[in-house]
Point group: D3
Chain length 160, copies 6
Amino acid sequence: MTTALCPGSFDPPTNGHIDVIRRTARFADRIVVGVVGNPSKRAMFTPERRVELFDAVIAGWTDNDVHIEVIAHDGLVVDLVESHDIDVIVKGLRGTIDFENEQRMAHMNSTMVEVETLFLPTSPEVSFISSSLVREIATLGGSVDHLVPPPVRQAIGETR
Amino acid sequence: MTTALCPGSFDPPTNGHIDVIRRTARFADRIVVGVVGNPSKRAMFTPERRVELFDAVIAGWTDNDVHIEVIAHDGLVVDLVESHDIDVIVKGLRGTIDFENEQRMAHMNSTMVEVETLFLPTSPEVSFISSSLVREIATLGGSVDHLVPPPVRQAIGETR
Amino acid sequence: MTTALCPGSFDPPTNGHIDVIRRTARFADRIVVGVVGNPSKRAMFTPERRVELFDAVIAGWTDNDVHIEVIAHDGLVVDLVESHDIDVIVKGLRGTIDFENEQRMAHMNSTMVEVETLFLPTSPEVSFISSSLVREIATLGGSVDHLVPPPVRQAIGETR
Amino acid sequence: MTTALCPGSFDPPTNGHIDVIRRTARFADRIVVGVVGNPSKRAMFTPERRVELFDAVIAGWTDNDVHIEVIAHDGLVVDLVESHDIDVIVKGLRGTIDFENEQRMAHMNSTMVEVETLFLPTSPEVSFISSSLVREIATLGGSVDHLVPPPVRQAIGETR
Amino acid sequence: MTTALCPGSFDPPTNGHIDVIRRTARFADRIVVGVVGNPSKRAMFTPERRVELFDAVIAGWTDNDVHIEVIAHDGLVVDLVESHDIDVIVKGLRGTIDFENEQRMAHMNSTMVEVETLFLPTSPEVSFISSSLVREIATLGGSVDHLVPPPVRQAIGETR
Amino acid sequence: MTTALCPGSFDPPTNGHIDVIRRTARFADRIVVGVVGNPSKRAMFTPERRVELFDAVIAGWTDNDVHIEVIAHDGLVVDLVESHDIDVIVKGLRGTIDFENEQRMAHMNSTMVEVETLFLPTSPEVSFISSSLVREIATLGGSVDHLVPPPVRQAIGETR
């Protein structure tokens, strides 16, 4: 049995994140989605709200037979590895900037705990989506309907 | 049970390839190493000899409890996915050039067969090794002893 | 009136090339597609055949009101700029490797003739397609049906 | 007739920005320079002052026969596309980091409005200039005379 | 005699910085380590404390016969070039993001003062270390013992 | 005294190569230019002819007081390090592709002999020049006058 950790700040969860989690469900038996609060960034949603949004999205997956647990966490990602019996960390890669940043983080993490980080290239049709651009567009009144899953769409609508 | 395919031309197998296979063994239950012959490149060893070299390397792993099968293949990588019940393809990434080339290949493969390609960032201490540089150095009489595993070292020595 | 030159070896034309030409048709009034034969590469089709394939593809565009001329050329791209009254060269970019190579070529060209090179980021859903991978897959018997337009699909089928 | 939009924060306008606008004037019939205020960054000049500086620069171009309009805007770039009848967005690219960021933005924008984004590789001799480095150097008392056009040079001098 | 300047914010000094300085000592006769305070970042240590930490590290090098001077500086790097008779600036490069940022800075600096910037590729085994990740891990209570030299390790321990 | 090795195939020497050597002369006391013949590439000039061309270029430098020796070599670059008392290898970098390839080579070389490789970012105005594009343009009858030094210009003219 393989347990995968998908960590991120997910503020908000986007179709890009959903793509990575759904594809991780094809080879992992259990997935922990770790919502890491980043205190240095101005948040759109609290970590707890992001967990709720993920739960609402996953609840809508009728074809899912993988156990997915979404949790908020405000420490190091490697702490989750030990507390949740994680076998592999999975991160999506959109381009070379992501690659270099995540490669560095993966090596850093492997100096603290024995864990492999696996990279999934994001699907082409969602490869340009980022939470920060979603926040920026939403703040300026633009539509992000095609960039985020329905529950997030609704939650952003309610903030207006 | 997760079966991983590690494809490559491996001409010759290097410490970088060994690093990726050993780390794949930490999360996969079974590994198929697919030695893909590349007819357009001038080869150092035949695909069959590369398989033998891999087998010799793996035979020396006393701590390995994952089933690893090494095979020569001269068609598409996706053909192996179907014939060998592969769950995931695993490729090592050394840098951004690797990333872009492998990302393209992964998307191409996913249009032909339903399979995810996972990328492992190569360990820093072997991140600069490439088969083509090993071939070039060996051809010019330089030492590649620190770049390849012992059976490959010996096989290169015998070609001189 | 703006005349755009879309140069390339196009061996064979792919859905990625078609994407760039269709989108160029949104801002240019006239397009010259320059099929540049590359004698150093082993070709799948002759430049003349590639021109025919492009013509067949374009003939099927019922919504096109831009004049598109496809020509074979075996000299420098900048020679076409002068002989065909080109205003801008347009090239698609899939990733950073393309960017660096095309940036270099653009600057080289601008030392020989006064012309701007404009880059179009390829549409995400075709951003992983390359002629060389199409050739490789087709040679090994794989399906490239989803990667190339119908006339090219048929032409590849006839070579088997 | 082609109308191009050159958007940016331009704080301050540099010789790199001027290079892109001048070269855009070679293929566009009308240019809108959209000065987008970025409230999250500490500004050197207000958006209105940046518009004045651009106007002063352009007023000095005796060889210009393209209509160039400079406007301040504090919403989404795509809003300008609709309100100003824009055909293409034009952005300069200095390197691969620019490319990946702008590629993402271009795809994001194309999900909101039907517009193509064209990239111009910045001329080599100004390819290393950035507004943020200009601000940093100017703040620390260094000379930026060779990096910005004369009106900006003078305006920075007056802030001291 | 060659005098090299190694500038940086070094907050804190890491094994990556030490690697660059030690290797610079192989070809330079005298090294100035310029600790540049960055007022826009939240600091872990004051520039003065960083100088002390560097001095403590260097004091432990029994095999060093190069004169190394560590100084705090709060202006432009190019000011140090003139005031300290610098022949070359030396910077470590971990990846392509570093390369593009440092290339830009090097060209900017060369417009202000006549000096060459030399890049050293960081040694593979420390190529993933960054001060910002060290600060982040230390703040969240993780161990950075393997990432920084002993005096820094101790100083971080005292801040807890 | 610092002796720098500038290795390359230099087929032909370009203004980009000359830029790197002239700037190396600012901090090195002695320079060895190593013309490495690459048997796998179709050459424009023999290594011996390239040495002559370099010598002709350097003979024209009236302001040069650094000893520069140009030699042909057909083995490993690291062999030159030992035979010519080299302190540092110097390579120019045009972009991120160069960086990744040269970083790999530098690490490979450092496993064979104790030598540091220093990278110089090429000057912006020659950052797009490559020998392979020069060969291609010259072969197709284009002008490379602005890309290569006068003696190379003349030698290329004589081959027509």
